[in-house]
């Protein structure tokens, strides 16, 4: 094999999976259960199917520009000024999601291990590693994903295996939960579950060709739909409805059910390893993606100068909500609404780029 620093299908898929998995392992399942009841796992499958269709359309439109990166396509389609403005706006949306993800993790950590420690102190252990990894560049981030994703999946898989005796079929009945209408509405309306596909377009210049780009997207969306559906099913089958609506951190609640016998009484502190690993990885990708967009807006390819600024923004934006409840509500709002704007914008840009026949990659 030639060690080509342009990423292949598996590496790019793992980057995408790390982005989506972070929020699913933190808080998103409880939001979805609140919307769709114990049919949340069906919602995930429907969302995945819809996302696959949408990605196929977007990818087909994006085909000529795969080697450019979304930031550059925006600039070329809308001109330097408006393209730059769009890049900055998109960066703001992404970084805001990153900020709330950061806040959610630090709150979760405070809940789990260091209630006496300040929010700022815990932030140090999140943002410093993120900054170091981001400064090493996208390839380093992809390499880390190759280690952390298998570790996360193995851990969650092991947890699922241990929890099998706790599964109750009655907990997932009625199968259609709140009803077919609710399922479809949640699946279509809460499309933000696959917001992360935008990163595939942002990082497309790192991918070795259109085929890889397309396959990474399709495999990634498929994998996330499958993993999260299984996770939702596990959650819904273990925790009876409506109790499942009440928990902020489903993974943590599931881990509390595991009694590991005489030597280790509770396993839930070990969840920190899963959460921290996936969120650090995900935040790094968010910083790098935002950096890519801002670098395009500034007409440069080097993003290292943006990294410290972006990390600082994540910190300060994450500190904005006054309490953890406000932070969760804000995160929920961001997750549910932002995606419409960007998907419409992305479609518009790609159609415009096609119409203007901008230079191909």
């Amino acid at each position: 094999m030639k060690i080509d620093r342009r990423l292949g299908v598996i590496s790019m898929t793992l980057v995408f999976v790390n982005l989506s998995l972070a929020k699913y392992l933190l808080v998103l399942p409880s939001f979805i259960v609140q919307e769709a009841g114990n049919s949340a796992w069906i919602v995930q499958i429907l969302k995945g199917a819809a996302a696959l269709g949408l990605f196929a359309v977007l990818a087909a439109l994006y085909k000529p520009y795969t080697g450019l990166g979304l930031g550059e396509v925006n600039r070329r389609a809308l001109g330097k000024f408006f393209g730059g403005v769009l890049n900055v706006a998109l960066s703001a949306v992404i970084i805001l999601r990153g900020a709330f993800l950061f806040r959610t993790l630090s709150e979760a950590l405070r809940t789990l291990e260091a209630a006496s420690a300040s929010q700022e102190f815990m932030a140090l252990f999140i943002l410093v590693p993120v900054a170091i990894c981001a400064l090493k560049g996208f390839n380093s981030n992809a390499d880390i994903s190759s280690i952390i994703i298998p570790f996360t999946l193995l851990s969650v898989g092991a947890m699922a295996a241990i929890l099998i005796p706790h599964f109750r079929f009655a907990n997932i009945t009625p199968i259609l939960g709140e009803g077919p209408v609710e399922i479809v509405t949640t699946a279509v309306g809460k499309f933000g579950g696959f917001f992360e596909m935008i990163f595939l377009f942002i990082f497309s210049r790192y991918v070795s060709g259109y085929k890889t780009f397309k396959r990474s997207g399709l495999f990634g969306i498929g994998a996330i739909a499958l993993i999260t559906a299984v996770f939702m099913l596990m959650y819904c089958a273990t925790v009876p409805y409506p109790a499942s609506k009440k928990f902020f951190f489903p993974l943590y609640q599931l881990s509390r059910l595991i009694m590991a016998g005489a030597f280790i009484q509770h396993l839930e502190p070990l969840v920190v390893f899963i959460w921290a690993g996936i969120v650090l990885c995900s935040l790094t990708t968010i910083v790098l993606g935002t950096g890519e967009l801002l670098a395009s807006a500034a007409g440069t390819k080097d993003i290292s100068g943006f990294v410290p600024i972006l990390v600082a923004i994540i910190f300060f934006a994450g500190e904005l909500p006054q309490s953890e409840i406000v932070a969760y509500d804000a995160y929920r709002t961001v997750l549910n609404t932002g995606h419409y704007v960007y998907i419409i914008a992305l479609l518009f840009i790609l159609l415009m780029a096609r119409g203007r026949k901008i230079e191909k990659a």
């Binding site: 060690i3 291990e113 410093v128 992809a142 390499d143 280690i147 005489a262 509770h266 502190p269 390893f273």
Partner: protein, 538 residues
């Protein structure tokens, strides 16, 4: 005398010596950095050349540089000759029997008509060359050759007569195996290359010799298999090694530090081995081996973290055993790296993990200990490191005393004096044993060093601190290259077909592919069906 001196006695400072920088021109220092790439040449005038060689080799200053002058009979006339050699580097028997005797007596018994006959008829040594380059002559003399200067010849003759004292091939000290061969490299370059060539009996095995160190002129052999190793890899190894601009390099450990990418990283970026079979196997897998004269270790490049976790024994064990042992080794490494940090984190932040009964036992054991867990564990770790360091240097007869003192201090006295708790001793001991179970010595040291970092991180932020450390560690390690190959290949980045073979060793007959991340010229090591006897037609 000043009035002040009358009252105050100021002793005269006897330490007046100060080491000043000497501004001696480099050419007067007795070496010329360019000496191996041309430099001054002999003039062809015997008297003048002899004076030059006398000066260059330092015949008068150096007690071990010997000069033997005699006459040689060529074309019915006596010709003056001078033989230079360094006592201790040449084999005197071979010099007397095959150099001096033929020249002094043989030239009189056999009719020598021309200067050409000296090399063709008289000198029966296998390695003889003529040159007039002064740099080559001084290098050869310092590497066990006899330098022969003959009046009227115009050139000097360098006759190989190496024969210094050296260790014989002995058992490996750091890579012992039960079922594999038991010979190890020693300090002799030629002997070491021969040990490898004995295993790889193929004309494709290339040994490119260069010298490193402006003054030491240490011979270094860069070995590779021409039809297997990537040309780019070989050129990069040669480029790095020949570009070293230092006065001396004595060992592969020093050379390693000159050519590695990141000197401050704890992770070793090359594998060092004292086993010829391991070096040969690496060559056959498309890697480059570098042997430094005077060093009993070969450097294998490139290498990965997973290879550093492999032992020399792995290739001699059956598949189920090797996989189990590799897993145990991985666990041992993780214990050695993380266990003390995890202990601090559990005691400080995650006490709910520990069952109540066990927690009570830990708490009661710690009841009389006056220090916080962090201090307690740091004391123990430092004590352990001191004992380990002393153990390396202590003379063998005192070893037993050291173990008794160590065991008493670490085991009994520290607990009796309530300086540390018994549980902590178990934790520290398991971590220490884990580092010994790590096959690569430098990986073990790396774990020992990083363990302190994880202890502090565990004490500061519990599991989150440890995970943050692991994340940064993984970022630094994955972004490190060994001769251009990522240290975490084939897992990060993922390479084609590499992951399963790296994590779980398949049966020997299924190990058909060379590691793709070293870009070998030949991808396969075995045929599609390597066990021909399974085919009924054969």
């Amino acid at each position: 005398m000043k009035i002040r001196d009358f009252f105050l006695y100021t002793p005269k400072d006897v330490h007046e010596f100060e080491l000043d920088e000497e501004s001696v021109p480099e050419e007067e220092l007795g070496y010329d950095p360019q000496m191996n790439e041309g430099g001054a040449e002999l003039s062809g005038n015997y008297k003048k050349d002899k004076a030059t060689l006398d000066k260059e080799l330092g015949v008068e200053e150096n007690g071990d540089v010997k000069l033997r002058e005699f006459t040689l009979r060529i074309a019915e006339r006596d010709v003056r000759c001078a033989a230079y050699f360094i006592d201790g580097l040449v084999d005197k028997d071979s010099m007397n029997d095959f150099v001096l005797r033929p020249l002094m007596l043989g030239s009189r018994k056999t009719e020598i008509r021309s200067y050409g006959d000296i090399m063709n008829v008289l000198l029966v040594q296998s390695e003889v060359k003529e040159t007039n380059t002064l740099g080559t002559l001084t290098f050869d003399a310092n590497y066990g050759s006899v330098i022969l200067l003959i009046e009227g010849y115009g050139k000097a003759i360098s006759i190989d007569a190496k024969g210094w004292e050296h260790r014989t091939v002995s058992l490996p000290e750091t890579e012992k195996v039960l079922r594999g061969p038991n010979d190890a490299f020693n300090e002799q370059l030629r002997g070491n290359t021969a040990l490898i060539r004995r295993l790889v009996r193929n004309k494709s095995l290339m040994i490119n010799e260069v010298s490193v160190g402006k003054i030491s002129q240490t011979p270094v052999a860069i070995m590779y298999i021409k039809n297997v190793a990537s040309g780019q890899l070989v050129r990069e190894a040669e480029r790095r090694i020949t570009s070293i601009n230092a006065d001396y390099v004595f060992s592969s450990a020093e050379l390693e530090q000159y050519i590695e990418d990141k000197s401050l990283l704890t992770l070793p970026q090359f594998m060092s081995t004292e086993r010829p079979d391991r070096a040969a196997r690496a060559l056959l897998s498309g890697r480059v081996a570098v042997i430094v004269d005077g060093s009993p270790f070969a450097l294998i490049m490139p290498t990965t973290v997973f290879e550093l976790n492999e032992s020399a024994e792995d290739h001699y064990l059956r598949t189920p055993y090797v996989n189990m042992i590799r897993f145990i080794r991985m666990v041992a490494f993780l214990f050695s790296l993380l266990l003390p940090g995890i202990y601090v984190a559990v005691v400080g932040f995650h006490t709910e993990m520990v069952p109540t009964d066990m927690l009570m036992s830990i708490v009661s054991a710690r009841d009389k200990v006056p220090f916080p867990t962090l201090v307690e564990i740091i004391i123990m770790e430092i004590a352990l490191e001191i004992i380990r360091e002393a153990g390396v240097r202590v003379p063998a007869p005192s070893g037993t005393t050291l173990s008794i003192v160590g065991a008493l201090i670490l085991g009994q006295a520290a607990v009796s004096a309530s300086i540390v708790s018994p549980v902590l001793i178990i934790v520290v001991s398991i971590a220490a044993i884990g580092s010994f179970a790590t096959p690569n010595y430098f990986m073990g040291i790396s774990a020992r060093l990083l363990r302190f970092v994880y202890i502090f991180l565990g004490a500061a932020a519990g599991f989150m601190g440890i995970m943050a450390g692991l994340f940064v560690n993984a970022v630094l390690w994955t972004s490190t290259r060994s001769m251009g190959v990522p240290m975490f290949a084939p897992v990060a980045p993922i390479t084609k077909g590499g992951v399963p073979q790296t994590l779980i060793s398949p049966q020997i007959w299924k190990q058909d592919r060379r590691d793709d991340y070293v870009n070998p010229k030949r991808k396969f090591m075995q045929g599609f069906i390597s066990r021909g006897w399974k085919n009924e037609n054969r």
